[in-house]
């Protein structure tokens, strides 16, 4: 099976520098973002090229799997750009360690998926994180930023879960997708704590109406025909299982943020 290599990556060495710039030079956005992006991209061939070539026979993937991976890549592009643009702008120093770690992972997920897809990878869409004016202060108001971060992470968890079955024929790619999926779960939990919420989703409870679609269906407590509420209570039973979303439902959630 797969164990993670703990060889330090280029991004590790970037963190202290990035942190320093975020704290001391907040506002100098473009320089930071470009530096982060450039170094992230530069690290890809070193970190991923060999891994990807060995693990996946690139170029021989069936179209159905390519479609799933490009769907995942769309979400990762969105998350990576969201944090790359927003973290230097709006995150207070106390939360930088958390947000830089999330940003690092999302940038890595983009690079990994692009590496797996090779020439089949879609280009990065153009995003509008104000969602056509619905969130005009997304990169100026930290609470708005956190609402969107929570929405993106909890959606990401549900999106990967919904695609697992479509990858069941390819063990390497299924396992890789699961390894991304649980990282999105860690991200979602920590972002929720920054909004003073619990790390898990209780029924379909959500304090921001704009995110209602992200939580629709999370109240389910019947698993494989078993009513799990009888083992504790409805709240705990709904929290204990995260529910999937279809590709269509995820794309509907993401659509307001995608210009082209």
């Amino acid at each position: 099976m797969i164990t993670t290599s703990q060889t330090p990556g280029v991004l590790d060495t970037l963190d202290p520098e990035l942190m320093d710039r975020v704290v001391t030079r907040r506002g100098a956005v473009s320089g930071i973002s470009n530096t982060a992006a450039a170094l992230a991209i530069a690290s890809v061939p070193i970190g991923l090229g060999l891994f990807a070539r060995q693990a996946f026979a690139q170029g021989t993937l069936p179209q159905s799997i390519i479609d799933v991976l490009n769907f995942a890549l769309t979400l990762e592009y969105l998350e990576a750009e969201f944090y790359t643009l927003g973290v230097p702008e709006v995150v207070p120093p106390a939360d930088c360690a958390i947000m830089l770690q999330i940003m690092k992972h999302e940038v890595a997920h983009v690079a990994l998926l692009k590496s797996v897809l090779g020439s089949a990878a879609i280009a990065k869409p153009t995003f509008d994180f104000t969602a056509k004016g619905m969130f005009p202060d997304v990169f100026k108001n930290y609470q708005t930023f956190l609402v969107l971060a929570q929405g993106f992470e909890d959606t990401g968890v549900r999106a990967y879960k919904g695609q697992a079955g479509a990858l069941i024929s390819n063990n390497a790619i299924l396992t890789t997708a699961l390894q991304i999926h649980s990282v999105e779960g860690r991200h979602a939990a920590i972002v929720r704590t920054l909004r003073n919420l619990k790390g898990w989703i209780t029924r379909d409870v959500n304090d921001v109406p704009a995110l209602n679609a992200v939580y629709a269906g999370e109240e389910n407590t019947v698993q494989a025909g078993v009513n799990t509420a009888v083992f504790a209570n409805v709240d705990a039973a709904s929290e204990a299982f995260d529910e999937p979303l279809t590709k269509a439902a995820v794309l509907a959630i993401a659509a307001p943020f995608i210009v082209t």
């Binding site: 797969i2 770690q101 999330i102 396992t175 649980s182 860690r186 799990t228």
Partner: protein
């Protein structure tokens, strides 16, 4: 845990001479064989959830010194989640479910926050790696989805426990569990997971019949 031993039986040959011959490996009394196929993988998950549920039941029954109200609330939530996972898997397995696991938490100081949360961190990270590695062992996509519904909750637990231990740091998804270059969480084989869980489990678990891919 130990491997189920190979037994030998005295066999009488046709001419009355006796000889010894190996018979099929047996599972000694008290051992749990996880079984085969998808049910075997579910039993593997059931064993881990039994371990986690038993652990948090003890944690909540005897809260550590100086526990905060928030910490007790979170740990109680986690306990209920693990109980739901355990009882669901038992119900889903029906007659195929393994018996009760005998746990051993003598290495844990339940009065100590560091010991309790440190052990919780081990269990949650291990649970994540176990489910991530087990996904490919399923043949039924519906069961794969169920496992997926559970693993992200274990990941949420892991992040919250880690944040209690080291608040506001990168540890919620630290470089020790999420590869900083690939952004991938860990994925372990059953052998790796059960070896890591071994200090906490008295029951001998035979996982040799589980699918391997």
């Amino acid at each position: 845990m130990q491997w189920a031993g190979v037994s030998f039986a005295v066999v009488l040959t046709a001419c009355g001479e006796s000889t010894t011959a190996p018979i099929a490996p047996t599972t000694p009394s008290g051992d749990l064989s996880l079984g085969t196929g998808d049910n075997g993988v579910l039993n593997y998950a059931y064993a881990l959830e039994q371990l986690e549920a038993a652990y948090y039941t003890q944690v909540v029954a005897t809260p550590y010194t100086g526990i905060s109200a928030l910490e007790l609330t979170l740990l109680t939530d986690i306990k209920l989640h693990e109980v739901v996972h355990r009882d669901f898997l038992k119900a889903a397995l029906g007659a195929a479910a393994i018996g009760a696991l005998e746990v051993d938490f003598t290495s844990v100081d339940f009065t100590s926050r560091a010991s309790v949360l440190g052990t919780a961190k081990v269990f949650e990270d291990l649970g994540v790696a176990a489910y991530n590695g087990a996904g490919q062992l399923f043949t039924d996509a519906n069961l794969l989805l169920i496992a997926g519904k559970i693993v992200s909750v274990e990941a949420r637990h892991a992040a919250i426990i880690r944040n209690l231990l080291n608040p506001k740091s990168a540890d919620f998804a630290g470089d020790d569990v999420v590869n900083p270059t690939t952004g991938l969480d860990r994925a372990f084989t059953p052998a790796m997971v059960l070896t890591a869980a071994d200090p906490f489990v008295k029951t001998e678990i035979d996982f040799s019949t589980l699918p391997t891919n």
